[in-house]
Amino acid sequence: MTADVYGLLGAVLTGLGLFGMLVRTEPLLRILAFNLLGGGVFLVLGAIARRGAGAGFAADPVPQAIILTGIVVAFAATTIAVALLLRLAARKDDA
């Protein structure tokens, strides 16, 4: 039950994030929308982890480890995107 609620929240966040990435034109807001989308995907995975609770664990550890790895990779992606964006903005000043 809890799992389903958060799984549905994840589904809504993926839709919202995708909408933001495609519709907002400011690059920083697109990056934020990408993070919303990523959060939604991780929540779906988290709901699946919760559903797989058992053997004395509150949640299936395998998807949990996958989410941890995913959060770090998504953070790395965000930093690269922000660095690219700031460089682009600085470059616009030069021109």
């Binding site: 809890t2 609620v5 958060y6 799984g7 549905l8 929240l9 589904a11 809504v12 966040l13 993926t14 839709g15 919202l16 909408f19 933001g20 495609l22 519709v23 907002r24 034109t25 400011e26 690059p27 920083l28 807001l29 990056i31 929308a33 919303l36 959060g39 779906v44 988290g46 709901a47 699946i48 982890a49 919760r50 559903r51 609770a53 058992g54 053997a55 004395g56 664990f57 509150a58 949640a59 299936d60 550890p61 395998v62 998807p63 949990q64 480890a65 790895t69 959060i71 770090v72 953070f75 790395a76 965000t78 930093t79 690269i80 922000v82 660095a83 964006l85 700031l86 460089r87 616009k92």
Partner: protein, 304 residues
């Protein structure tokens, strides 16, 4: 249940707020709140390791990064694409609604008897000498993913360095930080010793309980970033050999130990039996330091 619904409502409201915000700064502020509530949601789901990581990286470090970016962009906005027309927007909206419905239906229609791996992890956890099941997955069962992820962080650091201007790219990373006085300077002096102790604690309990190297590394990175932002501790230049070795050491050691396992036991990343725990701890210490340095450099960003 009421708590969950309130939390879901709060997360949705903040996410919507991020999407409709007029100013980048406001959007980022709402996004940080979203990250914190998301960490609470992880706690409700029973994923404590993820909750800690989300709070530290998803809300904390991302927040610092994005706030700084929003401030710098308000002075010099980047170019924007032309906004889509109303018909396109409606089509995109319909597409996203379909995506939400499809994913939502898929989540609800997953098999009633969830086919997870919790029992397998429980059965094999003893062989990894780690008490925290998530740590067992990260360091043993799916060790390759963790190794590659640490390599991805090194790659990300290389990317941000590559995005510096040619002039002075090997100098200190990030924008120069003015010397702060008053409360920030005080905090930047008081907190780091405490934070390092907390990071060590979180690292250590991560062997058997929620916590571990990512969370500890994120706190360590924050403890470096705080005095840096206060202008007390300037970052070393990117050209510094010691800094580069710090970033590379953890993943390199991980690969080396993996190759050692391949030579001794015939499988890459196999921990020689009897030495699992000390070897895992050595690799994790090195990884924590490297990841902390990489995370801090990523938040500082390229030299401007």
């Amino acid at each position: 249940m009421i708590v969950d619904l309130a939390l879901v409502g709060g997360i949705l409201a903040l996410a919507l707020g991020v999407l409709v915000a007029r100013q980048a700064f406001a959007a980022v502020a709402l996004f940080i709140g979203y990250g914190l509530l998301l960490a609470l949601a992880w706690g409700r789901l029973g994923l404590m390791d993820v909750a800690l990581t989300e709070a530290a990286i998803g809300a904390g470090l991302s927040g610092v990064l994005l706030l700084a970016a929003a401030r710098r962009l308000s002075a010099a906005p980047a170019q924007e694409d032309s906004p889509p027309g109303r018909v396109t927007r409606a089509l995109i909206g319909a597409g996203c609604a379909i995506l939400t419905c499809a994913v939502g239906a898929a989540v609800l229609l997953l098999p009633d008897a969830p086919p997870g791996l919790a029992a397998e992890v429980a059965a094999n956890q003893r062989a990894t000498a780690l008490g925290n099941p998530v740590a067992s997955v990260l360091m043993a069962f799916r060790g390759l993913d963790t190794l590659l992820e640490s390599a991805v962080l090194v790659l990300a650091v290389i990317c941000t360095v590559a995005l510096a201007p040619d002039q002075g790219w090997a100098g200190p990373p990030g924008a120069p930080q003015p010397q702060a006085d008053g409360p920030l300077a005080l905090l930047a002096r008081l907190l780091p010793p405490l934070g390092i102790v907390v990071a060590a604690h979180i690292f250590w309990i991560g062997v058997d309980a929620p916590g571990g190297k990512f969370q500890a590394a994120a706190i360590l990175a924050a403890m470096w970033l705080l005095p840096w932002m206060a202008g007390i501790a300037p970052a070393p230049p990117i050209g510094t050999r010691a800094l580069r070795i710090t970033v590379a050491a953890g993943p390199a050691l991980f690969i080396a130990v993996g190759l050692l396992g391949a030579m001794l036991t015939g499988a890459f990343l196999a921990w020689p039996s009897g030495f699992e725990k000390p070897l895992i701890l050595i690799v994790e210490v090195a990884l924590t330091l490297s990841i902390a340095a990489a995370l801090a450099l990523l938040v500082m960003g390229p030299r401007t």
